[in-house]
């Protein structure tokens, strides 16, 4: 990382002489002001609000479509959508399943791709760094912003799905994928686990986005690039001849969250998924840090 991050309070410039130095900066090490400002920027931006509205619309559409489609085929085919008629919780799950391949990655890519490139593009990056904001701190705050947005987006889909699901279909015993019936409370708990797993997967994806964002001054370019990566990864994952590389694809374990809906929970794929996410996350955060720390800010 840049030498700027290596400085310690010991190098503090003394406050004497011809210069009338301010009283030493009261170091508010744990201040969350900058993070809160970042969140305000993310959640206050019209583009992002519109994106979240789209994310939230999907479970609503699913709920109404299933409720009023008329043709009820019973639970025989085992799909989430048909399960919705048994219990409202499944609307949330169905919405997450539908949005995970494209909509959610798109949302995370929009925020993470914009993180550094967006500031560089409008020129605010140089003013943030000159305030000064340490480069490591800037990346940390930007990534925390991405994480919080990811949690918010996933929970938004789940909560809206469950809300509309319960309103239209009511609560009742939940039939898990393994056929076991559990109470609504246990079902909710399982749904929460699913949300957590999806957040972990998307957090790694967000780290990739953050890295790409440090490479360019074009936020849209970064976003498109990262979404393209997710799509290509899923396409490769569907080509059986390439099964040798499948475990290494960043999206490979995303849909394994279904294992959390068995009784008992099948931890095999899930734990692989978590390891994969952690490895991807660490590698790309480190790459972003190395890249951004040494970068000339000429925007």
């Amino acid at each position: 990382m840049s030498a700027a991050e290596a400085s310690s309070p010991a190098t503090m410039v003394p406050a004497v002489g011809t210069g009338q130095r301010q009283p030493p900066a009261t170091s508010r090490r744990l201040s969350t002001r900058f993070l809160r400002s970042e969140l305000k920027l993310i959640f206050g931006r019209r583009r992002n609000i519109a994106g979240m509205a789209v994310l939230a619309a999907v479970p609503i559409i699913i709920a109404f479509a299933v409720r009023y489609s008329g043709s009820r085929r019973g639970g025989g085919d085992g799909g989430f959508l048909s399960q919705a008629t048994n219990n409202g919780l499944f609307v949330g799950l169905a919405a997450l399943t539908v949005e995970l391949p494209l909509f959610l990655p798109l949302a995370v890519a929009a925020i993470s791709g914009d993180a550094v490139a967006g500031e560089a593009n409008v020129g605010t990056l140089r003013y943030l760094l000159a305030r000064p904001v340490q480069r490591t701190r800037l990346l940390a705050v930007k990534y925390l912003g991405v994480l919080i947005f990811t949690v918010a987006a996933v929970l938004l889909i789940a909560v809206v799905g469950v809300g509309f699901g319960l309103a239209l279909f009511g609560a009742g015993p939940v039939t898990l994928l393994s056929g076991t019936q559990v109470s609504t409370a246990v079902g909710l708990w399982r749904l929460l686990l699913v949300c957590g797993y999806i957040v972990v997967c998307l957090a790694a994806f967000g780290a990739i986005g953050l890295f790409v964002s440090t490479l360019t001054e074009q936020p849209i370019g970064a976003t498109i690039g990262v979404v393209g990566l997710a799509v290509i990864s899923q396409i490769l994952d569907s080509v059986s001849q390439l099964s040798a590389i499948h475990p290494y694809l960043p999206t490979h374990y995303w849909l394994s969250f279904g294992d959390l809906l068995r009784d008992p929970i099948a931890t095999d794929q899930i734990s692989h998924g978590i390891v994969s996410a952690v490895v991807y996350g660490v590698i790309f955060l480190a790459a972003a840090w190395a890249r951004f720390g040494a970068k000339d800010i000429t925007s």
Binding site: A6, M12, V13, V16, L41
Partner: protein, 337 residues
């Protein structure tokens, strides 16, 4: 260059420069210094070529140079945004980039024009910058923002989105951001860009006011008149090199003094001046000018009277800094590639 003025580069800072006086010592005499500061961009172009800046504490330092001469690149290096290819620099006695976290809170900067989030209001943009500053006291944030906006005459437009600001309003907001906290050093890259004459005057008055309170100002510009009006020191950039650096008064004193004679008979006046040994005699209409050289003006007047030249007016030619810079840069103020 053979001109006598070039010597200012070496003689320039009144005291010998810095490197030892700065790091680790208890005081800083120079708010900004650099030592062999160089930037070669990846394309191979040397944008800044071994410059040794010395901006004395309390100075208003005009960093003058034509387009593309390397002013902004230098400022970016001073603020730690761009890594020098070679050389070192200090701000307020702290090394850059090692001590930037300690010194930069006391430095207000405007770099290559203002830049803000277009969909946030002016006030919200300042709030964001203040939130990023760990040394800023959140309790006084609103008050400081209001004061800074007031100072640049932007209070009425504080709630407007930045994207709807005019060019001059944007520039003012950039200056307000530099003034959010009490600073010891202001680094202003072309602060009057895009301002109307009124705004230009206001900004110049603002700089003068701040300087009067002891703030050091490093002001980059390509306007000679700006330097002449508000600066105490000047550094001249030309194709990446610092070709001159000096007090403004010293620079003026170094330029060869000319006298001018206004007369109905310029031919006779020119002949007299030649007889008195003045060099570089030039005639333009009824005016004759010449280098004074070692002659004393009173002797020149006596000679003109003696030769019965009908003198209408006599006096020194005002020192034209532009001529100085043309001499220094060889070609004046074109774009340097």
């Amino acid at each position: 260059m053979s001109s006598p003025v070039t010597s200012v580069t070496r003689d320039a800072p009144t005291e010998p420069v810095p490197s030892s006086a700065v790091a680790g010592s208890s005081a800083y005499q120079f708010a900004v210094t650099s030592n062999g500061l160089t930037k070669r961009f990846r394309g191979g172009q040397v944008a800044v070529d071994h410059i040794d800046l010395a901006v004395p504490h309390g100075a208003v330092y005009g960093f003058l140079g034509p387009n593309g001469s390397g002013k902004t690149t230098t400022i970016r290096m001073l603020l730690g945004l761009v890594r020098p290819t070679a050389g070192t620099s200090t701000l307020l006695g702290g090394r850059i980039p090692e001590d930037s976290q300690q010194v930069l809170p006391s430095v207000g900067a405007l770099v290559e024009g203002p830049a803000f989030h277009p969909y946030l209001s002016g006030r919200d943009n300042l709030r964001r910058l203040d939130a990023a500053d760990r040394t800023a006291d959140p309790a006084t944030c609103a008050h400081r923002i209001a004061a800074a906006l007031e100072r640049v005459g932007l209070s009425a437009a504080a709630a407007k989105r930045f994207r709807n600001y005019s060019l001059g309003m944007r520039q003012r907001l950039g200056i307000a951001a530099a003034l959010l906290q009490p600073r010891e050093l202001l680094v202003l890259d072309e602060p009057t860009n895009g301002l109307d004459p009124q705004g230009t005057r206001e900004v110049r008055a603002l700089v003068t006011d701040l300087a009067a309170t002891g703030v050091t100002v490093l002001l980059s510009t390509h306007l000679l008149s700006e330097v002449e009006q508000i600066c105490t020191h000047v550094g001249v950039m030309h194709i990446g090199k610092l070709v001159a650096q000096s007090r403004l008064t010293d620079l003026r004193a170094q330029t060869a003094q000319r006298i001018r004679v206004q007369t109905a008979q310029p031919d006779r006046a020119a002949a007299t001046l030649a007889r008195l040994g003045l060099a570089d005699i030039a005639r333009r209409g009824e005016e004759v000018t010449a280098l004074v050289g070692s002659a004393r003006p009173e002797d020149v007047i006596a000679g003109l009277v003696h030769d019965e030249v009908p003198v209408i007016a006599f006096g020194p030619v005002p020192v034209n800094l532009e001529d100085v810079f043309v001499t220094l840069t060889g070609e004046g103020f074109g774009v340097s590639g």
